[in-house]
Symmetry: C2
Subunit: 316 residues, 2 copies
């Protein structure tokens, strides 16, 4: 019973997910409880501590075996200090989460943003296991990302490394404004939101397509229509894949990572999407910078957050 | 006299430059001798060792103070093993430079490519002194680069990190083929070669310009004409600066480095060029990813190579 374990905490707007991992990154137990945003930040911090204690109690491990607790959270984080500067979902402003939790738990606590933590999860114990340098994309409502070099998260000077969705990549003539305020970001074409927008635009323009203008059209329907041969849907998927492949090619000459890992809802389109991304990547990347480089799907799904949070303790 | 020193070696096709640096990166002595490519790789290796011994003899230091010897060389390097896989200038193929020099010198030897080494020089002891994360561009015949994270060179899985000149960045409609075989690389528009090509194209097309089609037109003449108000030259400089700024914006969301350092012959155009790069960068980078980010000229000039080579010993 002297084996060490690490705890990962993934704080969402409605639920806090907690997991126990071995120091090799195996997810052994999980627990989920309400976040309790409505009761304020003190209550949320108490919940995190309670759930962390609880999951260990419910397991065959002892608290003494806990090496540390890693926390992933959406928002702007001062990672060195472990302060949540601003988290819109949780209504946190300047909450010294690391200090609060270290006091409550008596263990080392590290805090990082959810995208970095998910990337670390995949790199450490998912599709990047055993690989030193990985770059991860998460294609969801937006396009998130994380950069792992020598097994560790690259944070950047203001914690803004890995903001891959905001690479300005669509040429001016075709660019639309992104939520970040800039024009032509990758997120405007390769996120679920971007794909849905392009589908709606096509329907509104009256393009001949099997897609219909439903209020709740999903990216999956666009992929299904493309797979079934709908030319408008094919063009939309091509465009999403083209700019993704182009952004991977840009990252390849900057970092030459061994593996690109792509996850999130949109990535569920599978090989249909991945083949197109690889084709563009091969076309745009110098031969020597694509040798041995793999583009693979993420494998941890929603658990990437808790696994990566636990990984903060091992890979810091 | 017990103070430690490091030796940096910059191997070029015609001359080998050697320098003694303090462990803080101050360049104390330099020496330059012929490379001797015509006598074969054994002779070149012997020259390196001889010049390293000689520079210490000529100084007030003793060989015992030498902590290690770093070497920068153009070509494909297996950095972990210190093997020069291929260096066209030197006619080296699979030369185990690290092992050969460690035997001859009795000191730790590290080998890296010239672009990475120059970037490390600037980051360690030049325009990036004191900064953990820097990305360096060298605008010369081509566009070279190097990425420094946490004070160390990012090499990439096959040593191809920092190949910033081969970011595919010019849209297809305007792209030309790069020397690497791909279309629209940054190098095709932002290197001296790219600028000269655009000038020649303009003259050939008969554009109204003060530029003349001399066989040896230099990038500097294009900049001088632009500064004097020549509209064709201004358009060419704008274009070179636009794609540079766009590539910096792409790197900013991947790595969020604190400082971009730009050197090489083209960078001598000075603030006229830098102002344009900064303007594009500001336009294309999300506010939060440009906060505190500086775009500055390199300061070590031709010494970046020897200083950075010496830096390999300190920053490994």
């Amino acid at each position: 019973m002297s084996e060490k374990i690490v705890i990962g905490v993934d704080i969402g707007g409605t639920a806090i997910k907690v997991g126990i991992c071995s120091i090799e990154g195996e997810l052994l137990h999980t627990y989920e409880g309400p976040t309790g945003v409505e009761h304020g930040s003190d209550a949320v911090c108490q919940n995190i501590a309670d759930y962390a204690k609880l999951i260990v109690e419910q397991s065959s491990f002892e608290w003494e075996q806990v090496e540390g607790v890693g926390v992933g959270i959406a928002g702007f984080i001062d990672m060195a200090q472990g302060i949540v500067k601003f988290s819109p979902n949780l209504h946190f402003r300047n909450v010294p989460l690391k200090t609060i939790l270290e006091e409550k738990l008596g263990r080392k606590v590290l805090v990082n943003n959810d995208a970095n933590v998910a990337a670390l999860g995949e790199a450490w114990a998912g599709a990047g296991r055993g690989i030193a340098d990985c770059v991860c994309y998460t294609l969801g409502t937006g396009v998130g990302g994380g950069v792992i070099i020598n097994g560790r998260i690259v944070e950047g000077s203001r914690g803004m490394a890995g903001e891959l969705g905001h690479m300005s990549i669509v040429p001016d003539l075709e660019a639309i404004q992104c939520g970040c305020g800039k024009m032509g970001c990758l997120e405007t074409v390769s996120s679920a939101t971007g794909i849905i927008r392009m589908a709606k635009d096509a329907v509104e323009r009256g393009d001949r397509t099997s897609l219909s203008f439903e209020p709740n059209i999903m990216a999956k329907e666009v992929f299904d229509a493309a797979k079934a041969g709908d030319e408008v849907a094919i063009r939309i998927v091509n465009r999403a894949a083209f700019y993704l492949g182009k952004s991977l090619a840009a990252v390849a000459v900057v970092l030459n990572p061994q593996r690109f890992i792509i996850g999130g809802g949109v990535s569920k389109a599978g090989e249909f999407l991945f083949e197109q991304i690889r084709e563009v990547f091969q076309k745009m990347t110098p031969e020597i910078a694509q040798e041995g480089v793999e583009i693979v799907p993420a494998i941890l799904g929603n658990n990437a957050g808790i696994v990566g949070a636990a990984g903060l303790i091992i890979r810091s």
